[in-house]
């Protein structure tokens, strides 16, 4: 049992499959994620694959400031990813709302909606930073330390 769980831990670290979800992003971050597939950054080197179905994924990459309309989609997609799972918030938008902060049409921050494990700041972040974020999330998956940063939205 000990052997299998250590192999499992290694496998979780070495095989992070990602699902990219655009929650109202300006597409800047999505373009930078797209370049992870290019020869220059080659995400497959760390075993990462971009999956079309959330059910195949381990890591959810969220871009954009979470518009009110997309919040339910984010919740639903997050629920469809089988455990264990991690969330990486790409860009300044999901972290703080960025230039959209204070708008009546966006949630203020992704943490109100789903637990986030890694924040990658930048507008947009460089592809290396996103790749490092994916790897960090994979480490957290291996250690079983995902889903720690979460605060419920306080309705007044």
């Amino acid at each position: 049992m000990g052997l299998f769980s250590s192999i499992l831990k290694l496998s979780r670290r070495r095989s992070p499959w990602v699902y990219v979800l655009n929650a109202g992003s300006c597409n800047g971050c999505d373009i930078e994620i797209g370049s992870l597939l290019s020869p220059r950054y080659d995400m497959e080197q760390i075993g990462a694959l971009r999956q079309g179905s959330p059910k195949h994924a381990d890591i959810l990459l969220i871009t954009g400031p979470l518009t009110l309309r997309s919040a339910d989609a984010v919740r639903s997609i997050y629920a469809q990813i089988p455990e264990p799972k991690a969330v990486v918030a790409v860009g300044s938008c999901p972290a703080t709302g960025n230039v959209f902060a204070g708008s009546p049409t966006v949630e203020d921050g992704v943490l109100h909606v789903v637990p986030v494990d890694v924040f990658v700041p930048g507008c947009p972040p460089r592809p290396q930073a996103i790749l490092a974020g994916v790897q960090e999330a994979a480490h957290l998956l291996a250690e079983g330390k995902t889903g720690r940063w979460h605060k419920e939205k306080h309705h007044e």
């Binding site: 499992l8 979780r12 070495r14 080659d42 497959e44 080197q45 195949h56 381990d58």
Partner: protein, 303 residues
């Protein structure tokens, strides 16, 4: 009697069945991914990648989609793995079981078709619209590639005048072999659902095809079945087209070389082409595939 049972179990679970098949399948899957990556000037995944993917999927909590019977959900990938392994165990490979019987070639053809049928059923059972689209595409594709594939096998069976694999193996090498091998190779990329014919599982386009609702251990089994399918196609190729030498070691090398050759061909093709539409793929197989099929069967009947 019990000796035979032990031999049978060894052929099924060790060589050339489950264990050896899984290891070889992972090797082929890695090689194909790495080759495609190199051709795109990327580094590609590390050597152990398919194994890590498999173990990781095994360790995920699985969710059975609403409206799908769990028996069907877990039974289909299991049936795919069991039958493709049986196909490998029955084939007269070097170091394998030498249990030959009349019609074993037909049995192997049926068993090798099982993973595709399980895929189709899985797509419909998952009740996802994407799964259903993927399944119907896969069903149409089977009708396409089966033509040259079955014709290649039949041509050799006509020549050998028997559906026993040992008789086909004993055939002297001739012109029918060349034509039949061409027809066989024509069918391989669609069988393995690699790029110009990656129509059923069309990633991103229809999400993930028949496997869209599959996750965790059940998806791991489907991936394993895919790797085993790679191995089984290579094994059948070596049984049908590669002449046997007196030395067992050399035969083993040839068996592996046949698989590697098919991996090379499909990877180069996959890296060089884009996905076809289903009707174009169908037309391709019912013109060029049909010509190759007709050619090898007629030649076999005449000679």
């Amino acid at each position: 009697m019990s000796n035979g049972l032990i031999q049978g179990l060894a052929a099924y679970f060790l060589w050339p069945g489950l264990l050896a098949g899984a290891l070889l399948g992972w090797l082929y899957l890695w090689l194909s991914r790495a080759l495609i990556a190199r051709m795109q000037r990327r580094f590609g995944p590390p050597f152990y990648q398919p194994f890590f993917d498999f173990v990781k999927l095994l360790g995920k909590r699985s969710m059975v989609p609403a409206g799908t019977a769990p028996l069907l959900y877990y039974g289909l990938p299991l049936a795919a793995v069991i039958s493709i392994t049986l196909a490998l165990a029955v084939m007269p490979l070097p170091g394998g079981l030498n249990a030959s019987f009349t019609g074993d070639l037909i049995l192997v053809l049926y068993l090798m078709e099982m993973p595709a049928f399980c895929d189709i059923l899985a797509g419909f059972a998952s009740r996802s619209i994407y799964g259903q689209v993927g399944s119907s595409r896969e069903a149409a594709l089977i009708l396409g590639y089966s033509l040259p594939f079955i014709a290649a096998v039949s041509a050799l069976a006509i020549q050998a005048d028997s559906f026993r694999m040992v008789d086909v193996l004993a055939l002297p090498f001739g012109p029918v072999h060349v034509l039949a091998a061409a027809a066989f190779i024509l069918a391989v990329p669609a069988r393995l659902k690699s790029n110009p014919f990656s129509i059923p599982n069309a990633e991103q386009e229809i999400v993930a095809g028949p496997h869209v609702e599959y996750n965790g251990p059940a998806l791991a089994l489907f991936e394993l079945a895919h790797g085993l399918e790679f191995v089984a196609v290579g094994a059948l190729f070596s049984v049908l087209f590669i002449p046997r030498l007196p030395s067992a070691g050399l035969n083993l090398v040839l068996y592996l070389a046949a698989g590697l050759l098919l991996v090379l061909i499909t990877s180069v093709l996959a890296a060089a082409t884009a996905r076809l539409q289903i009707h174009r793929a169908f037309r391709f197989y019912w013109t060029w595939g049909a010509l190759a099929a007709l050619g090898c069967v007629v030649l076999a009947a005449l000679l």
